[in-house]
């Protein structure tokens, strides 16, 4: 059974009377443990598809089944619970909370659990260790480099042990060296921790790290 099963999904944005079809009857399967790269030109709908898989947007029609749950049929509150349990999101611009240090940023998703403060702290530190930033636990985002910020963001994404990691151009804002480190880390998460990863990227070098590549154009898959 596929970890991500996108079935005949259409996504239409309406602006006044104008309709913009971003995804047009798209279907895609990503198997458990896969590392999939979504590629395509700007406006092809890859980020929209990623948002649907992550459960932060809903399709106009069709089904998006992630870890056995049809995301398209969930309400607002159920979707939030789904995201907190099943999905780890990695943003292009890291989106760390500037007033929180690295540990507190990583700990943020755990505030939604029943874990004690000590348990939360322990898990956050473990996640930081996994991404190689245990020594920067008390640093604030402004005190970290771009690559380090992204690694903290990855720690935040994995701290709840989600089934799927979705990454929206995770190396898009990084220099080549940092990008390589991040890609190495993501490869390790897939290989060593068996995480299913769906990544949107423009970068062919990043896409090469993935096990499968999918090309979108004008809202449909080309391969």
């Amino acid at each position: 059974m596929a970890m991500v099963d996108v079935r005949n999904v259409t996504k239409v944005y309406r602006r006044d009377v104008e309709e913009l079809v971003v995804l047009n009857g798209l279907s895609l399967q990503v198997e458990e443990g896969d590392y999939a790269a979504l590629m395509g030109p700007s406006g092809s709908g890859k980020s929209t598809l990623l948002n649907l898989i992550a459960g932060i947007d809903k399709p106009t029609s069709g089904d998006v089944v992630v870890a056995g749950t049809n995301v398209a049929q969930l309400g607002e509150t159920e979707l939030a619970a789904f995201r907190s349990h099943n999905v780890g999101f990695i943003f292009q611009f890291y989106n760390l909370i500037p007033v929180l240090n690295a540990t507190e940023n990583v700990e943020l998703p755990l505030l939604l659990t029943h874990l004690s403060k000590a348990e939360r702290r322990e898990r956050a530190l473990t996640a930081l260790k996994v991404v190689g930033l245990a020594d920067r636990a008390s640093h604030y985002p402004r005190q970290l480099s771009g690559g380090q910020e992204q690694r903290v963001a990855i720690a935040r994404a994995i701290v709840t042990d989600p089934k799927v990691l979705v990454a929206d151009e995770p190396t898009g804002d990084l220099d080549a060296k940092s990008a390589t480190e991040i890609l190495d880390l993501m490869g390790s998460l897939n290989r060593d921790f068996k995480k299913t990863i769906v990544m949107v990227t423009h970068d062919p070098r990043a896409a090469e790290r993935a096990k499968t590549q999918h090309h979108l154009e004008k809202g449909v898959l080309r391969d």
Binding site: I56, D57, A80, S84, F91, N95, V99, P109, L111, R156
Partner: protein, 409 residues
């Protein structure tokens, strides 16, 4: 509670703005508490009145005295149990109370030491004022000395007077002045009161025998007011009308009202103080509501991406809304606590600063202090303001879609 550190960190993000907002809130609650305390104190003065006592005065103005014969005629009205003549003496201490009589003249009168002092007909007056409790024997001592004065506990504490002490007063009302200098008084009794039984009773008061005033001024004076104790408070209106009807066709027509209405008329001399103070309070509160709401709107607008991140991580819209409201309420709580503390501080300062302390005592506001109820109302007001100010921005955060907020630059 686990979100509290997160909220506090956000408040510290722009500490200057947070400080200003908290100070604005504090100012609002400070004004609210201070104004309401003044109102409560004024209302407290009215609390010290009895529904069983009526006050008859000259219909034109308190400035004019009533003929002494009116007392007996008021006594004859059905429903009236006893009548006591009471005249506002308006006496002030000379500049130095320890000066001898010979050293003093009217030019050295010290109005900063002003306190209420009344010339009364003692027997009926004390009979109708069970609030004033005198130790045994002191009343008899007072009645045996024409220059005797009975003072309240607060007044005794204020000037350090004890039984047997002598002091001098000179009235600012010309007919109540003597050619040979100020009136000499000897403290013959110090009264206390039971605040639980008679709330609002002020012991910052001095009374003396009207006979002393009458005789010392050439036996030409009338009486400022007549206090009548009635049997049935429910018939106060009926008895008041009967008293006034007695003098309808005389040179000195009267106006009779309950003691509470009489006291309230003094407050009304300053205009509609309640409306004025409440109006100021409301205007300030509304302004602060706009200030805090604006601050919270800016704070939420600045954090649109962060709110999107929280929602992406699994925070529900309700929880995000709750966090924004809680942050705003926290500003209210901090501002409220600060405002209440500042108000209490001002009260303490006013009641412990020489000069101001005396002026307040003269107005019957010697016990100006922040009441727990006013403080609680002020705090509730701060919490409500925080909630109301944060609600709309929180609602916007609640409604906002993650994908829209993530696109925000």
């Amino acid at each position: 509670m686990k979100f509290l550190p997160y909220l506090l960190k956000h408040l510290r993000r722009n500490w200057f703005r947070t400080t200003l907002t908290v100070l604005a809130m504090a100012l609002c609650i400070f004004l609210f508490c201070t104004l309401q305390t003044v109102l409560a104190e004024i209302n407290g003065l009215l609390e010290g009145t009895s529904a069983r006592r009526l006050v008859t005065r000259h219909a034109v103005s308190l400035v004019f005295n009533l003929p002494l014969s009116y007392g007996a005629r008021i006594q004859s009205v059905p429903g009236v149990q006893r009548v006591a003549g009471v005249s506002w003496f308006g006496g002030s201490l000379p500049a130095k109370k320890e000066e001898t009589k010979a050293d003093q003249d009217s030019s050295t009168t010290d109005f900063s030491n002003f306190f209420p002092n009344l010339a009364v007909e003692p027997e009926p007056f004390f009979a109708m004022y069970p609030e004033y409790v005198l130790p045994p024997g002191q009343y008899q001592e007072f009645m045996g000395e024409l220059r005797g004065a009975i003072i309240g506990r607060k007044l005794a504490d204020r000037f350090g007077w004890k039984v047997g002490d002598t002091f001098y007063l000179e009235s600012f009302i010309p007919p109540y002045r003597k050619a040979d200098g100020p009136f000499e008084f000897i403290v013959k009794g110090i009264f206390d009161t039971d605040p639980a039984r008679y709330p609002g009773t002020d012991t910052n008061l001095m009374v003396f025998n009207y006979k002393y005033l009458y005789e010392a001024t050439g036996q030409r004076l009338g009486m400022g007011t007549f206090y009548a104790e009635i049997a049935d408070p429910d018939k106060a209106g009926e008895v008041s009308r009967a008293i006034d009807a007695l003098f309808e066709n005389s040179d000195a027509q009267t106006r009779t009202e309950t003691e509470k209405a009489f006291a309230a008329s003094f407050v009304a001399m300053a205009g509609n103080l309640t409306l004025l103070l409440n109006g100021i309070g409301l205007a300030v509160t509304f302004t602060i509501l706009l200030v805090v709401a604006n601050t919270m709107s800016i704070a939420v607008r600045e954090r649109r991406k962060e709110i999107a991140v929280l929602k992406t991580l699994g925070f529900t819209s309700k929880l995000v809304m709750g966090l924004v409201v809680a942050e705003s309420v926290l500003i209210g709580v901090l501002g409220g606590a600060l405002g209440i503390a500042a108000s209490q501080g001002l009260m303490w300062l006013l009641t412990h600063t020489p000069g101001i302390q005396d002026a307040l005592a003269g107005l019957g506001l010697s016990s100006l202090t922040l009441r727990p109820l006013v403080a609680a109302l002020g705090f509730a007001n701060a919490v409500f303001l925080g909630f109301a100010a944060g609600f709309l921005p929180a609602l916007n955060a609640y409604r906002a879609r993650i994908t829209d907020m993530l696109r925000t630059v």
